[in-house]
Amino acid sequence: MDRRLTLKWMLAAAATPPLVRGLQLFAATEPQPYGTDPKLLETYHPGDLWSLTFTPLQRRQATVLSDTIIPADATSPSASAVGVVDFIDEWISAPYPTQRADRKTVLEGLAWFDAEATRRFARSMADLDEQQLHSICDDISYVPKAKPEILEAAKFFARYRDLTAGGFYTTPQGRQDLGYVGNIPLPRFDGPPLEVLKKVGLA
């Protein structure tokens, strides 16, 4: 890992962010906001409004991490299988303040993770097996318990987990996984079914 980045994250002293070698933090052309009167009825895809950011390597890293956070199980597919990596790429490429801040967090975080993989296992992040991935993730998965020297990495993981979850649960497969059954017209609204009322002690 780049020594200056390590120092910065360890000390969390970030008045002027140092340049990170090999990491393009800002796109060559400034992306434009969609404005205050966008077309609402069009369907948008990642890349339609802003050119995307991830290099092929970053994409592989993002895929590995998203699928570690939301893997396939008996109920639903993995995050990357439903387009979450494309969503995160769209997100970090957008011109708004929240997304610009996340861009820095995500790109620096993936670089940290990859460097950590090399340090611990002499392998790149994209080539780690599940056990190796978990050994790093376990150290950074909960900010209140993260060691001071990897606090920034833990904050990155928290943010990346939120983006992965948000991307996943806003797909048809994610909605189905949660048991969301709305967004269909109904002739009347009946309120909660009896089994729900019984479960909460109201019937």
Binding site: Y180, G182, V200
Partner: protein, 601 residues
């Protein structure tokens, strides 16, 4: 007579020019044209056609950034607001102070219908106390009218726009006459839990009042009640009521409603007004000032046509400003002349004074009883089936509370459409799970959160006002507003009380608050303007020294100038202001019609 261009508007002959097409302007245009007056309605934003522009069943993955809010779309991509927000490009305003607690953020929606397109459709009546607050506790100002004066207009507005709710007979929480309200929707399970456990704390939970059609309007008997003796108006509104569909129990009201099941001015007020043939609507017309005739009467308004950038004037016998409280103030203060050097209608010096918003504070909790419930549809009327009206009138009046006015509680929960922040920030519950465990946790906690939002009365004060900034102009060359803002202890203590109450309810339900309730009211209170209930700034009163307009919202100084938005409100009850804006606008319109018939205007 429908949508016209600026040249046609300038050539037109009108009885009344109405500035603003939202709740106040929409109601004014409706009432006047249904009685035969010729009206020109000016709107600063663009024409908006909800029937073909509303995102109804779109899902987040079809939108940029999964529909999440951005500075361009502050309430999310699919929110109905167009060209609006707390910042509007090219239309700045100025804060007089950078101190926390001293800012007022001004929401505008530059579109036909204004903020009625995205509002929460919460439609509460002010109660009798709310019109006479000073008489009750010595603070603020009384209205020059009483509940009895407004009640018939509340009845009419409820019949016209369609409001669901119930009559509970609680203190200062008015009942509507039989037949006014539509049946409330059934509560969702979290509503029922809030009701059950709040009751143990002595806090009542009752059906909310919202402008959503839970069934078709009564097009057979309502028209005669709305327009007695006016067959043509009855025919128009009966036909229009038949064409409004009831709620289909899906899609968020804030995105607008293409089937016209909820109230927004362009779907409810303007179509029948247009059907009279008496209404012209000019959009993209940014009004700069009211113009004067030699007699000291208003002659019309000057506006900037946004298409050509040209400054133009339209004329009418009567001018009604309903541009939103602060924009109405801005127009008055910018209408300077030798006769009115401080701005129009401002001989009292009170224009811009006593600006108010609503006190807001929120708290969320997680309720284990609601975990892992069987999947079921909880969308209902999109939110707000029940609420808590202010319940402490007696203790407050007896001096047992540290603040003088009340608040109501809006709350919600449910298995809603997942968004970009679904399953985010769960660490406080999960300890930071990821992998298969995170998927299990997401299923477990989905739909188990309940939020509480307090909405409370702010007492008008001398430190909360707006004026014209001496330097800055907007992109149309019109001088902009500068805001001054200060909460009093009545508001900040109320916000702290909200936090304690919400935490007590959540804990009574066996729930957990994510963060401890904020005991410092100055930190608990949302910034001025953030609840988007701006009222005041040109208050009505009983004499020309202390108020800007009289009981008919008619300027003391200029007899053919009236206000019909929130600007004339001398107080801002906890009840959301929109229904009162509409009822008051109808009342003022009736007065204008009466005076015009008597040739007094």
């Amino acid at each position: 007579m429908p949508f016209v261009d600026a040249e046609a508007a300038v050539r037109g002959e009108y009885d009344v020019v109405v500035v603003g097409s939202g709740a106040g302007g929409g109601q004014m245009a409706y009432t006047l044209t249904m009685s035969g007056a010729r009206v020109l309605l000016l709107e600063a934003g663009r024409r908006y056609e909800p029937a073909v522009e509303t995102a109804m069943f779109q899902t987040p993955e079809m939108a940029p950034l999964r529909g999440t809010s951005t500075p361009d779309k502050p309430f999310g991509f699919y929110d109905a607001t167009i060209d609006g927000g707390w910042q509007v490009p090219g239309e700045p305003y100025v804060q007089s102070s950078t101190e926390p607690g001293a800012r007022f953020d001004w929401w505008r929606a530059r579109m036909l219908g204004g903020r009625t397109n995205h509002w929460g459709r919460i439609a509460l009546r002010n109660g009798p106390y709310d019109f006479k607050p000073r008489s009750r506790d010595g603070l603020g100002f009384d209205w020059p009218i009483s509940y009895a004066d407004m009640a018939p207009y509340y009845d009419k507005v409820e019949l016209l726009i369609g409001v669901y709710g119930s009559n509970e007979g609680l203190e200062n929480t008015p009942s509507s006459p039989a037949g006014c309200l539509l049946p409330p929707p059934k509560p969702i399970v979290s509503d029922l839990l809030v009701k059950k456990y709040s009751a143990t704390l002595g806090i009542p939970t009752i059906p909310f009042h919202r402008a959503v059609l839970t069934r078709q309007l009564d097009w057979q008997s309502s028209p005669a009640k709305l327009h007695p003796g006016n067959a043509r108006a009855q025919e128009i509104i009966a036909s229009d009521m038949r064409s409004r569909a009831p709620c289909l129990w899906a899609t968020p009201c804030g995105q607008g409603c293409s089937i016209r099941a909820n109230y927004q001015s362009p779907t409810v007020h303007l179509p029948p007004a247009l059907a009279t043939g008496k209404l012209d609507i000019l959009t993209d017309a940014m009004v700069a000032e009211v113009t004067l005739a030699g007699s000291g009467r208003a002659s019309g308004v000057r506006f900037v046509d946004k298409h050509s950038g040209k400054s133009m004037e339209v004329a009418a016998r009567v001018i009604v400003l309903a541009a939103s409280a602060c924009e109405t103030v801005r127009i008055l203060l910018n209408s300077r002349s030798a006769q009115f050097p401080q701005g129009l209608a401002n001989s009292s010096g009170k224009v811009g004074k006593y600006l108010m918003d609503t006190v807001g504070s929120d708290l969320s909790g997680q309720i284990p009883l609601l975990e892992s419930l069987p999947p079921h549809n909880e969308e209902g009327a999109s939110f707000g089936h029940m609420y808590v009206p202010w319940w402490e009138y007696k203790n407050q009046h007896a001096g047992k509370l540290a603040f003088a006015r009340g608040y109501h509680i809006e709350f919600g929960g449910g298995r809603r459409m997942p968004g970009a922040y679904t399953a985010a920030g769960l660490e406080w519950l999960t300890g930071g799970s990821y992998g298969r465990k995170l998927k299990e946790d997401a299923r477990r906690y989905y739909g188990s959160m309940v939020y509480f939002s307090g909405r409370g009365e702010m007492i008008p004060n001398e430190n909360s006002y707006c004026e014209i900034d001496p330097q800055m102009k907007d992109k149309w060359g019109i001088p902009v507003l500068r805001f001054h803002w200060r909460w009093s202890d009545h508001e900040t203590r109320q916000a702290a009380h909200m936090q304690q109450t919400f935490a007590a309810i959540i804990e009574s339900m066996g729930g957990r608050v994510q963060k401890p309730p904020q005991t410092d009211g100055a930190k608990a209170i949302a910034p001025g303007g953030s609840i988007i209930h701006e009222v005041g700034g040109a208050i009505m009163g009983s004499n020309s020294r202390d108020s800007v307009v009289n009981e008919w919202c008619q300027s003391w100084d200029v007899e053919n100038l009236f206000l019909a938005d929130g600007a004339p409100f001398p107080s801002n009850a906890d009840k959301n202001p929109t229904l009162t804006i509409m009822a008051n606008s109808w009342r003022v319109a009736d007065h204008i019609l009466d005076r015009m018939h008597r040739r007094e205007l």
